[in-house]
């Protein structure tokens, strides 16, 4: 019995070690679904000898909830700009020393250095940027995506053939664009209007989901889907030829995703190595070629694939405004949550 107990203790100890002492040569990356090219990870592993583990999430909200519930152990996460802001304020992120001194930092576009959500470049390095709007199968839909009205007030062709993201962030901002109100509104009347629009839309929504978007469009389950510019381009590449990303006149919701290190990360050096690695134009191009989003490393253009250079869905027409999402204060956030809870009921 004693011997058994001893073996047991040893075994438990070894699991504890396996679980916590991953300091050398490991990186736990927690990223959006369909956002991490295998090629990039393999190249990083080859160059640095660091072993990468990837977990995925479907929205900024999910990421925030996971970090808030104390699930630590992630070394790098990829929130959008306004969530970087929130996470810093909530004390969920670790300051990363010497980002500006990283060898590849010099490649970062001046305009994206010290961005408003990280004015001292103390937490984040760029990942990808793009926009959120909706996309449709041009062959099964007679509209041309010129207005958000097509998305929020579906017609006979799109009713019950429409899918929407499963998180409030971008959808509510799209509703604001449609209604001409400001993001992060604290005016209950404006938010009531947002709620009304979304409840009306819900009658025609088939499913709320932020994952498997291109599959759903491909199978014909839906003909219109809330979408991101780059990922809709990936859908085209995957064979949904007529998938068209809409640039409605009211505008699209812009976002800028960054790499940040959450508190409790155990492999900070690995995380920094990855941050530096990704700022190299060649590697950033690899990522853009996969995810089809724009990036903040101008020199990466040299390495972009022809597919990427000709990608139609990511060309923003000159007359369409891009409005970036921002961190809302507690009052505005409270209203957003209320609206979303009512839509989701």
């Amino acid at each position: 019995m004693k011997k058994f107990a001893k073996t047991m203790m040893l075994a438990i100890g070894s699991v504890a070690v396996a679980a916590s002492a991953q300091a050398s040569g490991k990186l736990n990356l927690y990223n959006w679904t369909d956002y991490t090219p295998t090629e990039l990870i393999e190249k990083f592993e080859k160059e640095t000898g660091i072993e990468v583990t990837l977990d995925t999430y479907d929205s900024n909200e999910t990421l925030l909830a996971k970090l808030q519930s104390g699930a630590t152990g992630y070394d790098l996460v990829v929130p959008s700009q306004h969530f970087v802001d929130i996470m810093v304020k909530e004390g969920l992120l670790m300051k990363v020393d010497g980002i500006a001194d990283m060898p590849n930092y010099k490649y970062v576009d001046e305009r994206f250095r010290n961005p408003s959500w990280d004015p001292e470049q103390a937490y984040s390095t760029p990942y990808q940027m793009g926009s959120a709007s909706f996309a449709y199968r041009a062959n099964s839909y007679d509209g041309n995506g010129s207005s958000l009205k097509e998305f929020f007030e579906p017609n006979a062709a799109t009713c019950n053939k429409l899918a929407v993201f499963k998180s409030p962030d971008e959808v509510i901002n799209m509703a604001h664009l449609y209604l001409g109100s400001d993001f992060c509104s604290e005016d209950p009347k404006e938010m009531q209007a947002v709620l009304d629009v979304m409840m009306k839309q819900k009658e025609c929504v088939k499913v709320y989901s932020s994952e498997g978007i291109n599959d759903r469009l491909k199978s014909g389950d839906v003909v219109m889907h809330a979408h991101w510019d780059g990922f809709s381009q990936v859908g085209v590449w995957e064979g949904v030829d007529d998938l068209t990303y809409a640039y409605p006149k009211e505008g699209v919701v812009g976002w800028f995703d960054s790499l940040v290190v959450p508190n409790g990360a155990q492999n900070v050096e690995s995380a920094k190595a990855f941050m530096n690695f990704l700022m190299h134009p060649e590697n950033m191009a690899l990522l853009s070629n996969f995810a089809a989003y724009a990036n903040a490393i101008p020199e990466s253009v040299k390495y972009l694939s022809d597919d990427m250079k000709n990608a139609k869905n990511i060309q923003v027409p000159a007359d369409v405004p891009v409005k970036f999402g921002q961190a809302c204060n507690a009052k505005a956030q409270g209203l957003i949550d209320k609206v979303w809870t009512r839509v989701m009921q």
Binding site: S59, E61, T62, L64, A65, Q68, S69, I86, K89, E90, K166, S167, P188, K189, M191, Q192, L195, K202, V205, K206, V207, Y208, S209, S219, G220, D221, A330, Q333, G334, L335, D337, K338, V339, W340, T341, R342, M344, Q345
Partner: protein
């Protein structure tokens, strides 16, 4: 070592494990349900019953308290779907349990084993099977178009509906209905049926007047075993309901996974727990009554 010490030694590990890791979390959850939510997740350590009030009366966008049927709708949907699933499972399970109970021993054991196998396999995987069957262009559509019930590119369109959730729920928990039914039917004395038939009862009357009353503990037990997990189901509404038709289980999950409203999620969870306790009390009462009934019945026949 004294028997008392031995007893304590044997029970202590279980007490501590379940006490600390089950009762402890439930108590903390109860406490959290009475706290104030932090907008970005987590809780403030302030006493606040608003999470419970919120189930029925929500502050609207204008900060006025108003009756909000939203959650009531979810609660009703959960109740209806759970009741529907329980009823359907009973309907499907009853003849099967009866049939199995009347088989010869070796075959009986094998059939019972065949019922338990789905129970022990992964619930997520079994629900996923229905995604393939009900999904657009899936197995059902292919069979349908093969039989010319629907056109080649049409769909039966069951995915993301309440019906899809119902099918998923029945399928998930059917074994839990059949096993207790079977247990009480196996114990039943078939001579009672012969006696009933001698008294010119037809088969329908035999079921209604003899089999159902005698197998009541199995019926109630099975119904509770199906009803309770259906009420808190998360997988079926999530995969088959398209995130649009929430049930209580998915509502709780949502509060922690994206909405970050811990106290409200905890309050709903407490409500679920309360329903379970009530269901168990009903079960215990029914069992007690049945015991009395059997006892008096036995006395009547012997007396």
């Amino acid at each position: 070592m004294s028997i008392k010490r031995l007893r304590l030694l044997g029970l202590l590990p279980t007490w501590v494990t379940i006490g600390v890791l089950m009762i402890g979390p439930l108590l903390i959850m109860a406490a959290v349900s009475l706290m104030e939510a932090n907008v970005y997740g987590g809780v403030h350590l302030r006493f606040d019953v608003s999470s419970y009030v919120q189930i029925l009366f929500d502050k609207n966008l204008f900060d006025e308290t108003e009756f909000n049927p939203a959650y009531l709708i979810i609660i009703m949907r959960s109740f209806m779907l759970a009741l529907g699933a329980t009823g359907l499972a009973l309907l499907i399970g009853f003849p099967a349990a009866y049939y199995i109970a009347r088989q010869p021993d070796h075959r009986k054991n094998l059939l019972v084993f065949l019922i338990t196998i789905p129970f022990w396999t992964n619930l997520l995987v079994r629900t996923f099977a229905w995604v393939i069957i009900l999904g657009r262009g899936g197995f059902m559509d292919q069979v349908g178009s093969f039989l010319n019930i629907i056109g080649p590119d049409e769909s039966i369109n069951l995915m993301y509906t309440n019906t899809a959730i119902l099918i998923g729920l029945v399928y998930s928990y059917l074994p839990l209905m059949v096993l207790p039914l079977y247990a009480s039917m196996e114990k039943m004395d078939v001579r009672l049926l012969e006696a009933g038939a001698d008294l010119y009862a037809n088969r329908y009357e035999l079921i209604r007047r003899i089999i159902v009353p005698l197998t009541m503990p199995g019926i109630i037990g099975g119904s509770i075993l199906v009803f309770v997990p259906c009420l808190g189901a998360f997988i079926a509404p999530d995969l088959l309901g398209g995130g649009k038709k929430l049930m209580l289980g998915s509502l709780v999950q949502l509060q922690f996974a994206t909405s970050r409203n811990w106290p409200f999620g905890a309050a709903i969870a407490m409500m679920l727990l309360a329903i379970v306790v009530i269901a168990l009390m009903v079960n215990a009462r029914a069992a007690r009554r049945h015991a009395v009934y059997e006892q008096t019945g036995a006395e009547a026949t012997h007396g």
